[in-house]
């Protein structure tokens, strides 16, 4: 038998025109960037400066190409997540894996696929398995830059005349990856090994054809095979359309101009962000913080291992520094440790994901690319939940922590807009977009199925400094939000809607209130075996409000079993339809059979539980936080909120000091004079209740010294203290604690499995992880 010399791969150094390997080439680009402070050492934008029209021509062509390809490809999909919610994105990268231009869609993927490309480059995919014309690679590995396993990326190298000139990647958010829990952002599993199928930059196609072994294997490993395969076709079709477009641009504009463009545009993107920051923000430092709950001791959270059975809290302090040069730095020193749950993230989720937010206010343009990352310093300390130091971590619902921590970034950056006078740009923090309704079983068509409702893409938005937030409009990860049509969701889910109403009282109070969320009540219908679970924040708020504005309403869950509804329907009795207007009133329970069992509490994270036909599940999509002192709200706005059923009367009185009457038809009239008088009283009551900050701090300090806090709070701080001596020192200094005061995790008695002994992905043989942030 003849042994071929390297039958898989390429002879190293044959892909690029310059004769370098991809890795050497990338390192050279990085070195030039590092040395000069300009991407690839491009201090002068030679192409753009000498031929601005020609430069713009290429930009316009490639940008239109990726956008149009997305529009066409998305119609192939069957998943409402892709087709209705638009959870797909195509991105063009230069050969080093830096993003040049990205389509509309979920802009977080500016960098996630780039991280996979860089991983392939750095780990010499060039020689094995080889990178050839017509190849396809698939990645969804969270240790290789992916946010969570359900974002599946197809990556295709682009060649022109035998020379590699670019990469194109397409990503779709699939409904299920075969994790322990059904649905794309599930919980229950606590380690990577339960997080579902993970594909590490695998070569899954050659000669433009997907490989059958991969197709068979991947379909066996997920629940929703039809969606899986059509999503796959969607990504491939889009990548190939973009590849054709690139080749045409090269034909029209010349290979040399295209090559120049692919680097210069990144430097152009870097400068673009700097210009925006200079225009919009105030130099200086803003400190902010966010928390969110992981309530795992509850009996409805079933996890496989005792060490995961604990309540914990995510801690995300962040220091935003806007430099006079227009560059900025985001430092997450002091974050708590990663945990045995599915909410861990990796650094790329930050460095890439942050643009999904920043394009909503700071830089709303089509010109976002990896240049923005080069203008931003990230510090994500190793071992924290932002940068786990263990290869076992699960990431399925990384968004639980991301959205919670980003809400504080939004508040922080809004302060700098406010300082510069851009009141219209202020957003009080946006909502924590949840609940995530997920589950699975055998659906109305008799197939094994999983569901993952994206109704959460239309939560209430945070209030602005000149107007209320928008009701049921967007999510922090997608400004182009949509709740979708009921008749479409009912095709995808064996869950009959019993109501869809605006959720009263869920927008945070304020001079400008947050946008309201909404609620949909679902009855399990026509399924065989069915399960569901809840995923969201319940005990804690992460969307706090700004400058006196209140947080949005907290979460809660409602589920009902053995409801007797089918009998009540037959007998013509009253039914739970529509609103759970004031949860304290337990309205739904008034319309259930005598044997119904109801769960109504703050436990908003649960694991897979069984539901029979006729059982109920409330999907409550959150509101946004408020801005400014509620006592400054205009009377007409309070009255309108009452008349639109946006506000409970009790809180109009309590929070806004409104004094009002109602007529026979229930129409509210707020009395301006009486309200003003009541508000004046309330201001006095506030003063009477107030204590000087120093006094308050003294009481708090005593509590800290006495360790008078819940176990979860103590554990959270203990993990931050362990990971960051700097944070510990600042904390102690701020609270003026004795030098010997300490809070070691060891004294708490909480499980510490994984707290001290870890193994990173980079410790595996032959693995070189890509690191793009300060750790």
């Amino acid at each position: 038998m003849t042994i071929l010399e390297n039958p898989l791969g390429n002879k190293p150094g044959t892909l690029l025109k310059n004769g370098m390997t991809l890795n050497d080439h990338r390192n050279a680009v990085l070195a030039r960037t590092e040395e000069t402070g300009y991407y690839d050492g491009r201090k002068e934008l030679t192409f753009k400066d000498t031929d601005p029209i020609g430069f713009e021509r290429i930009f316009s062509k490639v940008r239109a190409g990726v956008v149009n390809s997305r529009e066409v490809a998305k119609k192939i999909a069957a998943s409402p997540i892709v087709e209705q919610e638009g959870e797909l994105c195509f991105t063009l990268y230069n050969v080093t894996g830096d993003c040049v231009v990205t389509s509309t869609g979920i802009i977080i993927h500016v960098g996630t696929m780039g991280a996979a490309i860089k991983y392939m480059i750095q780990n010499d995919w060039e020689s094995n398995p080889g990178i050839n014309e017509g190849d396809m690679f698939t990645n969804n590995d969270c240790q290789t830059g992916n946010v969570h396993p359900c974002d599946i990326a197809t990556i295709v190298p682009i060649f022109h005349d035998g020379v590699m000139v670019a990469w194109v990647g397409g990503v779709t958010h699939v409904i299920d990856t075969g994790a322990v829990g059904p649905g794309s952002m599930s919980n229950g599993q606590i380690q990577r090994f339960g997080d579902g199928l993970q594909i590490t930059c695998r070569k899954t196609g050659i000669n433009d054809t997907p490989l059958r072994d991969y197709l068979h294997e991947s379909q066996r490993n997920v629940r929703t095979t039809k969606y899986w395969i059509l999503d796959e076709k969607t990504r491939i079709a889009g990548c190939h359309m973009i590849r054709d477009m690139v080749l045409e641009v090269i034909e029209d504009e010349g290979a040399e101009a295209f090559d120049e463009f692919m680097y210069e545009v990144v430097e152009d993107g870097r400068r673009g962000l700097i210009m925006r920051i200079k225009a919009m923000c105030m130099p200086g430092t803003v400190k902010t913080v966010a928390f969110v709950d992981v309530p795992y001791t509850h009996e409805d959270v079933h996890v496989p291992s005792t060490f995961a059975k604990m309540d914990s809290i995510m801690h995300a302090p962040c220091e935003i520094t806007v430099k006079p040069t227009g560059e900025w730095r985001l430092d997450f020193e002091g974050c708590s440790r990663w945990g045995w749950h599915t909410y861990n993230t990796n650094p790329v989720a930050f460095t890439s994901g942050i643009w999904v937010m920043m394009t909503q206010s700071l830089i709303p343009t089509e010109r976002v690319n990896d240049g923005c990352r080069y203008a931003t310093e990230f510090r994500l300390p190793k071992g924290t939940w932002t940068n786990p130091d263990d290869r076992r971590t699960a990431h399925a619902d990384a968004w639980h922590f991301l959205v919670s921590s980003w809400s504080s970034l939004w508040r922080g950056i809004s302060r700098t807009y406010f300082a510069r006078g851009y009141l219209e740009e202020v957003n009080a923090g946006n909502s924590n977009p949840c609940n995530w309704l997920q589950g699975g079983g055998v659906n109305q068509d008799g197939e094994v199925h999983a569901v993952n409702s994206f109704e959460t893409a239309a939560c209430g938005t945070g209030a602005c400094a000149v107007k209320d937030g928008l009701n049921h409009a967007a999510a922090i990860w997608n400004p182009e939000g949509d709740m979708g049509d009921i008749e479409i969701w009912e095709l995808a889910e064996p869950l009959l809607y019993m109501g869809r109403r605006i959720k009263t009282n869920t927008g945070g109070y304020g001079k400008y209130r947050g946008g309201l969320g909404y609620e949909t009540l679902r009855m399990v219908w026509n399924s065989a075996d069915w399960t569901m679970f809840f995923m969201g924040n319940g005990y804690m708020n992460s969307d706090w409000g700004l400058m006196g504005g209140y947080p949005a309403a907290t979460g809660y869950r409602f589920e009902a079993h053995n409801t007797g509804l089918q009998e009540r329907i037959a007998e013509g009795k009253s039914l739970p339809l529509g609103q759970d207007r004031d949860p304290r009133e337990c309205e739904y329970e008034k319309h259930l059979g005598p044997d119904a069992t109801v769960k109504r509490d703050k436990q908003c994270i649960t694991t897979e539980d069984m539901y029979a036909n006729g059982d109920l599940y409330l999907n409550y999509l959150r509101g946004g936080p408020g801005f400014g002192d509620p006592l400054d709200r205009r009377i007409v706005d309070i009255q309108e909120d009452l008349n639109q059923n946006f506000l409970l009367a009790e809180f109009a009185e309590k929070v806004y000091g409104a004094v009002f009457t109602t007529d026979d038809e229930g129409v509210y009239t707020v009395d301006a004079d009486k309200t003003a008088a009541r508000q004046a009283e309330m201001r006095k009551e506030r003063l009477a209740r107030a204590v000087p900050v120093k006094e308050w701090m003294e009481t708090e300090r005593t509590k800290i010294i006495d360790k008078d806090a819940s176990l979860a709070v103590q554990q959270m701080y203990a993990s931050s203290f362990y990971l960051s001596p700097k944070f510990t020192a600042e904390f102690k200094e701020f609270w003026d604690l004795p030098a010997d005061w300490e809070l070691p995790e060891e004294e708490l008695g909480t499980p510490m499995y994984g707290a001290r002994h870890t193994m990173e992905i980079g410790d595996l043989p032959d693995v070189s992880p890509v690191i793009m942030t300060e750790e």
Partner: protein
């Protein structure tokens, strides 16, 4: 003078917000255009405009109306009524528990119609007022599931109460829209009957609309919005059209006024589904292009219409235009079948700026509109527009802009382009202005190309028609290098939409969602069921179409029926619409023929790799179109003469900047050119309404139909 051997036969009316245009056509294709200021009394404006038009022929309304055979109306009044929320107070009855869904809209409606950057920019999003107020909304207990089964039987006593309350509190119309009624309309119809009863008892005669009677198609937000429009906006329009019809009859008219509708046909003003005439303006051009293409025996046309603010594109393939199932208009998602058009917010009057953050050229999305640009100081515009660049480069004639009504200040335009564009980019004045034009044309060209390739075709399969006020200026730029078979510019490009309206068929189209699925495991009996379901849907739609024609006085045997269907690989959310290869179906074996037509189309649109026959096939919608022949305007037929234009057609020369150099362009008067004339670039052909630019490297000739052919040489 009235000429009985060459009677005036066709009238097209375009009632815009500011002007009401009329377009009269004689049997031989000659036409006149009239203008009048739009009036709250639309009938009045139409008459005034008619008088203005007919004066060109030295005749009168009283003489002409009796000889005319057809009249098509299109207008923006209904759209304005919706945008300004000035419709009928409408009550809404929905499934109980869903009282908010209409006012919630779909979140997509809070950024619908936005330019890309504003779609990202969250704080710019906003909702419009709902069409029905929450206090005029009532819920009735009922539910039908996603397979059409009744889960909660309707509780009619609640409907009775709801109807009474809504009428009592002053609603002028009632709309009923229940979830999944498109699959099972019994609940909606039962409630409709109850509301009718209550109405009678209360002595009220307000109209009642059940969504299932109008738009029995999937997606409740679309369906409800559209049915609401019938009540909220279309009923008031019906009253106005009725009045217009009466006034015309007083003047001797024997024709019935027809209205241009979103599906590309015209419908009677008595039509049940009048809301579909909400969208009509830009469609006219597509219909006109289709008609013209039929006359010229061209199968495939790429239509391009560039006005001051937007660029509209559409494709005609094998003499058919494509349809969008879920069009949107006035920031509302709708269930109206809509002639598929792609629109981008870049036009001949778009503003041009340097983006301060990226130091790059940015076109639009806003435009100078009627204020033209910095070249017209009275317009009050300080920002450079595309028109300014055209003036500077010699493309447009500053002394004959819009027929010379506006006096332009060229030095001011030059200064503005220099300061705002050229200096910041480090370019010469000419290169900056030419760069703007180049990028605009590039952008138009890309969109045109993308639209064609998205449907699975190449430009070489098409003849491009270019019209609209800006079409002839930009045609060379956005077609250059695309490889169209030919580019054709009608001499009446500026009035092409009004012409198009007058060419539209009298056509009703009804759609219905269906839930048919056949997989590899399906039996012959399953296929037979599928075939029966489809034919039953066609039968139901046929009855509706024939009823519409009956209202307008046509017997069933006068109507040509065309069945169609929407198909997908089972489980997909999108589908493709096609005409049925069979006029009717009855046998299981015919299923494969329906599948074959789809499979072929799909592979063309999405590439072969995307085909997924292993999933099975579903029919998601049945469609039925019915049409009757109408009188249409003829196109001109003139004998071809010399290739060399007469000396009288030459009106001078002008410096013209193209490809980085100043050259001298010959100027021609469009109306003085005769068929057969050939003009080689650089040349500019001017008329009052438009300017036709033929740069170096192009030539054009005028054919016997007064169509210019633009050729790259």
């Amino acid at each position: 003078m009235n000429d009985l051997t060459n009677p005036v036969e066709v009238l097209g009316i375009d009632a815009g917000g500011t002007m009401t245009d009329t377009f009269f056509v004689r049997a031989d294709g000659t036409f006149v255009v009239g203008k009048a200021q739009s009036d709250a009394d639309e009938a009045n404006a139409v008459l005034e405009s008619s008088v203005d038009a007919l004066a060109h022929w030295d005749t009168t309304v009283e003489e002409v109306y009796p000889q005319m055979v057809t009249c098509v109306f299109s207008g923006t009044a209904m759209l304005n009524r919706v945008v300004g929320r000035k419709g009928l107070r409408t009550g809404l009855i929905v499934s109980k528990g869903f009282e908010d869904f209409h006012r919630m809209g779909r979140a997509i409606q809070c950024y619908l119609g936005y330019a890309f950057e504003d779609r990202l920019h969250l704080n710019t999003h906003r909702y419009d007022e709902p069409l029905a107020h929450i206090h005029d909304t009532r819920g009735v207990t009922e539910r039908v599931d996603s397979k059409g089964g009744v889960v909660i039987p309707v509780r009619l006593h609640e409907a009775r109460e709801a109807a009474r309350e809504l009428i009592e509190q002053g609603c002028k119309a009632i709309v009923i829209s229940f979830l999944s009624s498109y699959l099972n309309g019994t609940h909606e119809r039962a409630v409709r009957d109850v509301v009718e009863e209550v109405k009678k008892e209360m002595g009220s005669d307000i109209p009642v609309f059940a969504s299932v009677d109008y738009y029995p198609v999937r997606k409740e937000t679309h369906r409800t919005n559209t049915t609401l429009l019938e009540a909220y906006a279309a009923e008031p329009s019906r009253a106005i059209l009725s009045q217009l019809s009466d006034r015309m009859k007083e003047k001797g008219a024997k024709f019935d006024v027809r209205v241009m509708a979103s599906h590309g046909g015209t419908i009677g003003w008595k039509a049940k589904e009048l809301a579909r005439s909400l969208v009509s303006g830009p469609i006219g051009g597509v219909i006109g292009a289709k008609y013209l293409a039929e006359q010229l025996k061209i199968d495939n046309i790429a239509c391009s219409d560039i006005g001051g603010t937007s660029f509209d594109m559409a494709l005609i393939v094998k003499s058919k235009f494509a349809m969008h199932q879920d069009g949107d208009m006035a920031r509302l998602v709708l269930s109206l079948p809509l002639v598929a058009m792609d629109t981008i917010g870049a036009g001949a009057g778009s503003f041009v700026r340097i983006d301060p953050y990226s130091n790059s050229l940015k076109l639009g999305p806003d435009s100078a509109g009627y204020r033209v640009g910095t070249c017209w100081p009275e317009g009050g515009v300080d920002t450079v527009s595309v028109t300014d660049c055209h003036i500077i480069l010699g493309y447009l004639n500053p002394d004959n802009f819009l027929g010379g009504i506006l006096e332009l200040d060229v030095p001011r335009a030059k200064q503005c382009v220099q300061d705002q564009i050229a200096t910041p980019l480090g370019l010469s004045l000419e290169d900056a202005a030419a760069g703007v034009i180049e990028l605009l044309d590039l952008s138009l060209r890309q969109h045109l190309r993308a639209m064609i390739s998205a449907k699975g075709y190449a430009p070489s399969d098409f003849v491009c028609f270019s019209y609209g006020g800006g079409g002839p200026v930009h045609a060379y730029g956005y077609t250059k290098g695309l490889g169209f078979k030919e580019t054709i510019i009608p001499a009446w490009a500026a009035g092409f939409s009004a012409f198009g309206c007058a060419t539209a068929d009298f056509e009703y189209r009804y759609d219905m969602s269906t839930d048919i699925g056949i997989t590899e495991e399906s039996t012959e009996a399953d296929k037979q069921d599928a075939i029966n379901t489809l034919q039953a849907a066609w039968d139901e739609l046929t009855a509706k179409v024939l009823e519409e024609f009956r209202i307008n006085g046509f017997a069933p045997d006068q109507v040509t029926l065309t069945p169609g269907y929407r198909m997908q690989y089972l489980g997909q959310l999108n589908d493709l619409e096609m005409d049925s290869p069979l006029k009717s179906v009855s046998k299981a074996a015919e299923w494969d023929e329906l599948v074959g037509t789809f499979d072929e189309t799909y592979a063309r649109v999405y590439a072969d790799a995307a085909r997924s026959p292993e999933l099975g096939f579903g029919i998601t919608g049945a469609i039925l179109r019915g049409s009757v022949e109408t009188k249409k305007p003829s196109i001109p037929h003139e004998a071809e003469g010399d290739a060399t234009p007469a000396a009288s057609a030459v009106i001078g020369e002008r410096p013209f900047y193209y490809n980085g150099e100043w050259v001298t362009a010959d100027l021609y008067h469009m109306e003085s050119l005769v068929p057969g004339n050939r003009v080689t670039g650089p040349a500019v052909i001017e008329s009052d309404a438009t300017t036709y630019v033929v740069p170096t490297g192009f030539e054009t000739w005028l054919d016997g139909h007064r169509l210019f052919h633009l050729i790259e040489v």
